[in-house]
């Protein structure tokens, strides 16, 4: 038996041990689930410990609790070691325990040389399964979380700020409608007892997926599985999410601050995930319209390349976080998704024009579909580009975990099999079914918000000028159309609030 087969066999045994025993009412559950990618001889080992719990599980009034709790584990001491001692021990290994918290899924991750695996895992095990919950660690991490909300997010990172405002708009009165970090008010009131309770409630063996990849030794899988299987049995029930609300017309939320540049994010909920049969077709449409940080993106071509308005413009058919290089990060699986457009900051004077331009392009996409040559180009692109997605051990085990989560055997393998079978008409049908151009939520961070509001409501023409005095005639001709493109914005759907008013309390700030 080859080592690969031997490990695969171990995986099957572990999965067998982890099988759920389900029933009605008080479910008795097994766990954890184990995902393995053994590679004999590889000197590195990646661990991804995924918890099917995230910020959507924060109790009302305690927004930010999931992040605070998990961050305290990743950046606090264990029962036996202070965080200082952990830092000192991790340091010679060049090791750390990473953490990403999303709405319904959170992931701890680390990659170490196999020389250090045993020592690293012993510390990691203590951090996650026997946490120290020290007051000083709690205070440090809580203060950082408040500072992030109060100072950094709203003052120092406008692109991210815009995306977070859009999230609040998309999910008002919905468990997704809270920033992972919570609010200034909610986090300020959290206590160490809140953290202990959250840990106790959710650190159940059925909530975990353990991903291991690389050259881990014999017996390691069994050891890790046994440790997490010793957690209390049970699992947090999957959230029953309310229907998302579609916007009614163009709904604006303008965050006002002193700034030389305007950041814009726009979008609306879509009713599909990777498990949906339309996903791959809509994915082609999204890549054509706004592939992340690629010149393929139509929005990039129209706004940046033709007109030099800003650094880039992209669109996504599901929640997107950039991982290594420009590839999608893994383990952000959600039950509900949204379509979004990201307009990177541009001169305030051109904000109205670019809002019009992006919405007009969206309208053309919905009404005209994807052109034949773009369909073929985009499909070819995705078939090849996705071959670069999973290069590191961490990426590969991350994709493996996501594939299982969405019920696909192997997402990246499916790409190769399914994309060639998709037709242009499949794409256009998916566009018509899932996308629209007249019901869109739009988050804007800018100064002099009232003049933007007035201009939007009055549909005032918004001409722009260029440094190049000899712009191509076809672009100037199109500009004439864009600058007067009617948006039909209703006064009651434009809200303004000072930037500093966001993330202080739950939801969007009142005007």
């Amino acid at each position: 038996m080859t080592t690969l087969m031997r490990y695969a066999g171990v995986g099957i045994v572990c999965l067998g041990l982890a099988m759920f025993v389900t029933g009605c009412g008080g479910k008795k559950t097994g766990g954890p689930v184990v995902e393995l990618l053994p590679i004999e001889g590889n000197p590195l080992v990646s661990l991804r410990i995924v918890l099917n719990v995230g910020s959507a599980h924060d109790p009302a009034g305690k927004e930010g609790l999931a992040q605070l709790t998990l961050n305290l584990l990743a950046n606090g001491g264990s029962r036996d070691l202070t965080f200082q001692e952990i830092s000192e021990r991790f340091y010679p290994m060049a090791a750390r325990l990473g953490l990403r918290v999303d709405k319904e899924m959170s992931a701890f991750s680390g990659t170490v040389h196999v020389d250090n695996l045993e020592a690293y895992y012993a510390i990691l095990r203590g951090m996650l399964l026997e946490p120290g919950f020290r007051e000083e660690d709690f205070t440090r991490i809580k203060t950082n979380q408040v500072n992030f909300l109060e100072r950094t997010l709203v003052n120092n990172m406008d692109e991210q700020f815009g995306k977070e405002i859009l999230n609040l708009m998309l999910y008002e009165d919905h468990p997704y409608g809270r920033n992972e970090a919570g609010t200034v008010e909610s986090v300020s009131n959290l206590t160490l007892d809140d953290v202990r309770s959250f840990y106790k409630e959710h650190f159940l063996r059925g909530n975990f997926t353990i991903g291991l990849a690389g050259g881990y030794p014999d017996g390691f899988v069994e050891k890790v599985t046994a440790d997490f299987a010793a957690l209390p049995e049970g699992r947090t029930p999957q959230l029953v999410l309310p229907e998302t609300r579609m916007p009614s017309g163009l709904e604006f939320m303008i965050a006002e601050k002193q700034t030389p540049a305007t950041a814009i994010s726009m979008g609306f909920p879509v009713k599909l995930t990777r498990a949906d049969k339309d996903f791959f077709a809509l994915w082609i449409a999204g890549a054509h319209f706004g592939e992340h940080r690629q010149s393929l993106s139509l929005l990039f071509q129209k706004i940046r390349e033709e007109r030099g308005q800003n650094y880039g413009n992209y669109a996504y058919i599901e929640h997107f976080i950039q991982g290594r290089d420009k590839f999608p990060a893994t383990n952000y699986a959600r039950q509900q998704q949204y379509f979004s457009i990201w307009i990177r900051p541009l001169a305030n004077s051109n904000r109205h024009f670019v809002v019009r331009q992006a919405l007009r392009e969206l309208r053309k996409l919905v009404e005209e579909g994807i052109p034949e040559e773009r369909f073929e180009l985009t499909r070819t692109y995705l078939l090849n580009y996705t071959r670069l997605y999973a290069q590191t051990l961490d990426e590969r085990i991350g994709w493996q975990i996501d594939s299982r989560h969405y019920g696909t055997r192997d997402f990246l393998d499916d790409v190769q099999k399914r994309l060639p079978r998709i037709s242009r008409e499949d794409v256009n049908r998916a566009i018509r079914k899932h996308l629209n151009f007249d019901n869109v939520m739009i988050a804007v961070i800018t100064e002099d918000a009232e003049s933007l509001r007035d201009a939007l409501i009055a549909d005032t023409p918004s001409p722009i000028s260029y440094a190049n005095p000899n712009m191509p005639a076809e672009i100037l001709q199109e500009d004439l159309v864009i600058q007067s493109y009617a948006l039909g914005v209703r006064p009651e759907t434009v809200r303004i609030a000072p930037a500093t008013a966001f993330f202080r309390k739950a939801g969007l700030p009142m005007e």
């Binding site: 000197p43 830092s87 990659t111 030389p260 670069l388 290069q391 590191t392 590969r396 260029y466």
Partner: protein, 446 residues
Amino acid sequence: MTKFLCAAIALSLILPAAALAAESKIFPFDYRIEEIDNGLKVVSIPLDNPHIIAFYTIVRAGSRNEVEPGKSGFAHFFEHMMFKGTKDVPKEAYDEFLTRLGAGTNGYTTDDYTCYFVVFAGRENLEEVVRIEADRFLNLYYDEEMLKTEAPVIEGEYYASASNPDRRLFELLRDTAFEKHSYKHTTLGYLRDILDMPNQYEYSRLFKQRFYAPDNTILLVAGDFDHARLMALVREHYGAWEPSGYSLQTPVEPPQTKAKRAHYPWPSKTLPRMAMAYRGPAYTTESIDKAALDLLAEIAFSSSSPLYQRLVIEEQKCVSLGASFADRRDPYLLVLSSVLRNDEDLPYVEKAILDELERIKTEPVDEKKLADVKSNLKYSFARVLGTTDGIAGSLAHSINLAADPGTVNALYGLYEKVTPADIQEAARKYFVPAASTTVTLTGGGQ
């Protein structure tokens, strides 16, 4: 098992298990360096990983080369212009080729060099990649109008980080620390120069002529290819590229004789920040200084250092603390930076850092700590070697500095030799109060 999966598994085997054995080199892969007749150097690293190839072009021109007044940020701007295509392969055709290839592709500009990369799957695509990349370096074509349209994109890039106080602090630090050298400005450049870029068509031609030439460029290719085939393709497609012969004279920075300070009042609420810089050496493996300073940075300011533990973890005065002793071709800065929680703690943190520097001058560092740092550096480097573009990307920086991947092994060899006395001596030599620059940033608003 799919073909793709097989490729992926093989890829993860590219880091030999023996890479970290004490006697082995930190960069464990075989490589070759060849120069063709026009001076173009090729560093080739064939790897046993089916499919993926990383094709990097390193032009040894960065913001260091912007020596004339009013030209700050120009190397970065020119990087953008390099994507405008040629008469044979216009921009649209170039973009379409790379899109069909599904390549990971981009460019970036640093102080000392500009790097263009194409990472792609399929060794059968190498010839076309070499052809199309050579074409744009030999035959780049753009007119004044294209330049005027691209220039505002740089303004947009500036705006993209306009809300980031770290960028502003860093701009201020360099502007204050340097008097004459082009390291005075950042790679992005001054906003006033960015706004003037639409008027710089003629200068852009001069910039290309001076620096975008084979005798100022290195090709770095890693992955699944045959070296002889690569060289044949390079000779065929790059052979007609005319050398420049231009020799850059960077302004010599006069010695600093007096400590400098500057402050930036950030208009809105933010965490206070401080950066302290000292004059450091240029990159070299000829002496122990550079290696000693790298280890010093880790010993004194990394997350396991006593000062970090005190200021960040125990006293919680700082959110972060770190040191950056960046490698540069000319003498640069040793930067100690921190983000604090409260404005009023700035003097306290500054004193704590200064006290630590004095302590290092007088007390030899602990041998175990030194060993831990050496271990950290080795394992950190080993981790980036897990992918083809990780190998190429990490080497691009070193190759810019020394035109030879062997410099990595030389540097790590020096790390092994550094003693506590070397670190003490480096601290005494470089942490001179009169050669310091301290900049702070504090927020206002609500």
